[in-house]
């Protein structure tokens, strides 16, 4: 099978990841399209016999980072300022009902790690290679992403419980 064919076979997985990463379908498919175009143009940089999937996800990661950087310059600051990022929307934290919106509120770097581990089921080493960060960073981002997501998802029921306690 040629790289081109394997690339085509991986499109559904790129779409799944992109959908979770950016939320809406059209934007996600734009990201996949940019990724495929870039991968096609850069195919000479792909070393045959290495993991094409990891390579494609690396390309997608880079494309995504560049897009985010171009459109939302403040997004990159999120991880450095977690308190600020979290505190601002605290009022509507209780309103986050579905997973989609909770994921969207994770810092981009943490979201990427969580999704590659959970959806792509990449090993932590693969995630580190794909994103170009040390494995320790992968583990800490994974841990933080999960805890934030958990708290957001629990927010609703925790608030409900709290009300019950108060009423007693």
């Amino acid at each position: 099978m040629t790289e081109a064919q394997r690339m085509v076979d991986l499109i559904p997985r790129l779409r799944r990841y992109a959908r979770a990463l950016v939320g809406d379908r059209a934007t996600a498919d734009d990201l996949v399209q940019d990724t495929l175009e870039r991968a096609w143009a850069k195919l000479h940089l792909y070393r045959r016999g290495t993991d094409l999937r990891a390579w494609l996800f690396t390309v997608m990661h880079n494309v995504h980072v560049n897009r985010v950087r171009a459109t939302r310059p403040t997004d990159m600051l999120e991880e450095e300022m977690p308190e600020l990022a979290q505190r601002a929307p605290q009022g509507d934290a209780l309103l986050v009902r579905d997973l989609d919106r909770a994921i969207a509120r994770l810092p981009a770097e943490q979201r990427a790690v969580l999704l590659l581990v959970t959806l792509e089921e990449m090993s932590y080493e693969e995630v580190a290679r794909t994103l170009g960060v040390p494995i320790g960073t992968v583990m800490s981002r994974l841990s933080r992403a999960r805890e934030k997501l958990r708290l957001m998802m629990l927010g609703q029921s925790a608030a409900a419980k709290l009300k019950l306690v108060k009423n007693e």
Binding site: T2, Q5, M7, R13, R16, D29, R48, M139, R146, R150
Partner: protein, 259 residues
């Protein structure tokens, strides 16, 4: 019983079901006396399941046309040089014939020693011979497509198909039988409304089950994309359309033949 130190990374790996052996036992032992941590990890596992349940359905969706067609057809690198570089890159990345790699930077057809290039040359000659024909471009017309395909398949000794290219604006004119290096060759002709013609040359391969990437050659003013896919070798020729446009057609042909 003394406990092994458990790290947060261990817990994450446990949540992902990636621990085994001693480490797994150690984490389970550690969690046994910590209900809050046990609950936290159970929440992580539930979240993972919810994530997969939410997004796995995307895998089943039909891939939008605009994505399926990306490979080369929606290039944003517009200059001819960049396009050439992309193709050369593909040639290097996927190149099957070692010799080709040595000649990858040459924008002209590789030497005749390359059997694929010989096919491309024959295809180009057939294109140049038949595509200008007004009255007798083909032996059997598209109105008898089933007969045409059955006849050519029988003569080639392999199932041959005439790809449907209406979606990209090309209608089958018909086909003919040609002599070739490895025996009979099937030759299909397609036409766009304004009379632009492309021809698809299909021959059986002596070496079976070989696959190559698309390669490009020119012969006179005929452009050819050619490739081998298992039992059959293909060459798509045109004298009228650009390399980019011909590549789009080649992609469509490839997809039709490899659904």
């Amino acid at each position: 019983m003394s406990e092994v130190p458990i790290t947060e990374s261990d817990l994450q790996a446990y949540a992902d079901g990636r621990l085994s052996g001693e480490r797994l036992v150690a984490v389970e032992t550690w969690l046994a006396s910590r209900p809050d941590e046990t609950e936290r990890i159970a929440d992580y596992r539930r979240l993972s399941e919810e994530l997969r349940a939410a997004y796995d359905p995307v895998l089943e969706e039909a891939v939008p046309e605009r994505l399926a067609h990306v490979s080369g057809s929606r290039q944003r690198w517009k200059t001819a040089a960049a396009v050439a570089a992309g193709w050369i890159a593909l040639g290097i990345a996927v190149g099957v014939v070692a010799g080709w790699q040595l000649h990858a930077s040459r924008p002209v057809a590789p030497p005749l020693a390359d059997v694929g290039a010989a096919m491309a040359r024959r295809a180009a000659l057939a294109h140049a011979t038949y595509s200008p024909e007004v009255r007798h471009p083909v032996e059997v017309g598209a109105d008898q497509e089933a007969h045409l395909v059955a006849w050519l398949s029988k003569r080639l000794g392999a199932p041959v198909r005439a790809p449907k290219l209406e979606d990209i604006g090309y209608n089958l004119v018909g086909g003919r039988l040609l002599p070739g290096d490895n025996g009979p060759v099937a030759h299909f002709m397609y036409e766009r409304n304004q009379g632009t013609r492309v021809t698809l040359y299909v021959r059986t391969e002596a070496t079976q089950n070989r696959e190559t990437a698309f390669r490009y050659a020119t012969e006179g003013n005929v452009r050819v994309f050619y490739w081998v896919d298992r039992k059959l070798g293909y060459a798509l020729s045109s004298g009228d359309i650009s390399r980019d446009d011909l590549f789009k057609v080649a992609n469509a042909v490839y997809r039709q033949l490899n659904p």
